[in-house]
């Protein structure tokens, strides 16, 4: 589904990522983790085709649906207006959505249980609600690869659970391939089959979650001790940061 070898990606004339290679077969979920500013969004921009890689080979099999980070639109579109934009690819330059496009969008609104949002102004929806509308937009484009830029940022636990469950459902029932970035290793533990840990612009760890996502790798990734915590009762585990409480240097 995704085949990238020796990717070098530049943004605004500055090289951000060098020699990244990754492979993700159909029906898998990849979680992308990395510190702020390391280039997660740049990598995602390259995956969805907004940035052309400077060198290397990037092959994507199948249509891409993209869910950007939480945003506001400058005009008061309704949630339905926003989701309908997902149909653009099927309409051509001068096309406008017709009955069938409305039906497809409404189908996904129904499937995501957000029918009530339809007439509401997109900007007045909460973060979680807007995220669901954007996922409906991506699904309406009838994509096979779903790329999400921090889909759970700014969401409370319940909404995180809802978005993660939805992603899992899409992969299981609809054989979708999913790529998402996150700052929470927990999200990768919960639903990702593969992880990409971006340590810097030129070094990374990529592999199955079971082996690649370890306390050691995460510690290197965040430059902060990260410990694994096991919940025996739930037969689950997570990773937690050991914050340093290093107040000394603020007094300088």
């Amino acid at each position: 589904m995704i085949e990238a070898s020796d990717l070098t990606i530049a943004r605004g004339g500055k090289t951000i990522l060098t020699n990244y290679s990754l492979r993700l077969p159909r029906g898998r979920t990849l979680a992308v983790l990395g510190a702020n500013g390391v280039g997660k969004t740049t990598l995602i921009s390259a995956l969805i085709g907004v940035i052309k890689p400077k060198s290397g080979r990037l092959q994507i099999g199948g249509r891409i649906g993209f869910v950007p980070q939480l945003f506001e639109v400058p005009f008061s579109y309704s949630a339905l207006d926003i989701a309908l934009m997902g149909r653009a690819r099927h309409l051509g330059l001068f096309g406008t959505p017709g009955r069938r496009d409305y039906e497809i969008v409404r189908h996904y609104f129904h499937a995501l249980d957000i029918e009530d949002f339809e007439p509401r102004t997109f900007n007045t929806l909460s973060g979680g609600q807007r995220q669901l509308v954007m996922i409906a937009q991506a699904l309406a484009s009838e994509c096979e690869l779903l790329v999400l830029d921090e889909p759970c940022a700014a969401l409370d636990y319940k909404n995180q659970d809802k978005v993660l469950s939805l992603l899992e459902h899409l992969r299981e029932k609809h054989d979708m391939t999913i790529v998402f970035s996150t700052h929470m290793p927990q999200h990768a533990v919960e639903i990702a089959s593969d992880v990409l840990l971006m340590t810097s612009g030129s070094s990374y760890v990529c592999g199955p979650t079971a082996t690649a996502l370890s306390a050691k790798n995460l510690t290197a990734l965040y430059d902060l001790p990260i410990e694994r915590a096991d919940f025996d009762r739930l037969s689950k585990h997570t990773y937690a940061p050991v914050f340093r409480h290093d107040r000394g240097h603020f007094d300088g």
């Binding site: 005009f75 934009m85 330059l93 406008t96 409404r106 339809e118 609809h174 979708m176």
Partner: protein, 356 residues
């Protein structure tokens, strides 16, 4: 996943379409009424009936002409071309304003933002300074308007990509340059003959419009607004931002080019025939948005018709309030600025650009 359930509600689809069906025809009806009314007002008092008979007489004589030939001349040669010019100018500026506000994702954008208005203004000024009149003036204004847009586009394109933010800044720079150039031209102009001519021309007027002016306006405005209207759904997508539009599969560069060139054509045509008429393209789309929402499929036609009605009313004021003509640009600014202030406050109160 490609299948969709049968319980989708087609009635909702129709229900959603309904408001646009009712607002637009109402406005078109209103426009026709205002046009008819506008022909009757002026120094030669005519009734709506007289005007209707005079106009219909051209297509099919209903009654034997009972009016004087001079009345026919007033209606058909003086008032009608001027009214048509007002309708086309208002229509074009408002549609281009709505499209540019979406393209730049900024509700405070005016068609002048892309530099075309002051470029065309300088072209016309230069023509007057050189003693050119009529069609030479129109051509000069038009060419300078188009040239300034290409200059703006050139300035803001780096490695084949145009940043919309840089484009706005480049527009400001080019506008400032041509404004300075206009000042120099005024300074050099003969203060008794040419300076007043330049000043009045820049203030904007369609007082002396004839059918050839109307034709030039129509040639610039009609194909451009049609092109913008065809792109109405893509304009929705462009207003989400370039990156999201790319991801949704929009031909971003092509759509940007078509909208910019179409808007430049509209503004250059308007300035060439009617001088600088500000605030219409900025304010009218907001009023239209309050009526039918942000979706450009409904917003563009409603903006256009609303703008036509507005500018026609303003021109009626310009020619009837005082015995001397008031330049159009002054009235559009006098009315536009307070409306703009209200819009600004509403946007501020809402804590962002999320206007309706």
């Amino acid at each position: 996943m490609a299948s969709y359930s049968a319980n989708a509600r087609p009635t909702g689809w129709l229900g959603r379409k309904l408001p646009s069906v009712s607002v637009l025809p109402a406005l078109i009806g209103l426009l026709l009424l205002v046009v008819l009314y506008s022909v009757t007002i002026g120094r030669y008092g005519l009734s709506v009936g007289d005007v209707t008979y005079i106009l219909i007489d051209n297509i099919h004589p209903l009654v034997t002409p009972y009016w004087e030939p001079v009345q026919e001349v007033v209606v058909e040669q003086v008032r009608l071309p001027r009214i048509m010019a007002a309708v086309i100018v208002g229509f074009g500026l408002s549609i281009s304003g709505a499209a540019l506000q979406a393209l730049f994702r900024n509700p405070l954008v005016d068609p002048g933002i892309i530099g075309v208005t002051s470029g065309a203004g300088f072209g016309g000024t230069l023509a007057i300074l050189l003693g050119l009149q009529g069609y030479s003036l129109l051509t000069m204004a038009f060419l300078f308007g188009m040239a300034s847009v290409f200059l703006v586009k050139l300035l803001s394109t780096v490695r084949g990509r145009t940043s919309m933010l840089t484009l706005v800044l480049a527009g400001v720079v080019i506008s400032a340059f041509f404004s300075a150039a206009i000042s120099i031209a005024k300074l050099l102009a003969d203060p008794f003959q040419k300076l007043p001519a330049i000043t009045y021309w820049l203030m904007g007027s369609i007082a002396s419009s004839n059918y050839l002016d109307v034709l030039l306006l129509a040639v610039a405005v009609v194909p451009s607004t049609v092109a913008i209207y065809f792109l109405r759904f893509q304009i929705n997508i462009m207003s989400l931002g370039e990156e999201k539009a790319w991801a949704l599969g929009t031909k971003v560069v092509l759509v940007q080019w078509i909208i910019l060139v179409a808007s430049a054509l509209i503004s250059a045509g308007v300035v060439a025939t009617s001088g600088i008429i500000g605030w219409v393209g900025l304010v009218i789309p907001h009023v239209a948005r309050a009526l039918v929402g942000a979706d450009h499929q409904r917003l563009l036609p409603v903006s256009g018709v609303l703008g036509a009605i507005y500018l026609l009313m303003v021109d009626n004021l310009a020619r009837t309030v005082t015995t001397a003509e008031i330049p159009l640009g002054i009235i559009t600014a006098l009315i536009g600025v307070p409306i703009f202030a209200v819009i600004l406050r509403r946007l501020h109160a809402k804590g962002g650009w999320s206007s309706d």
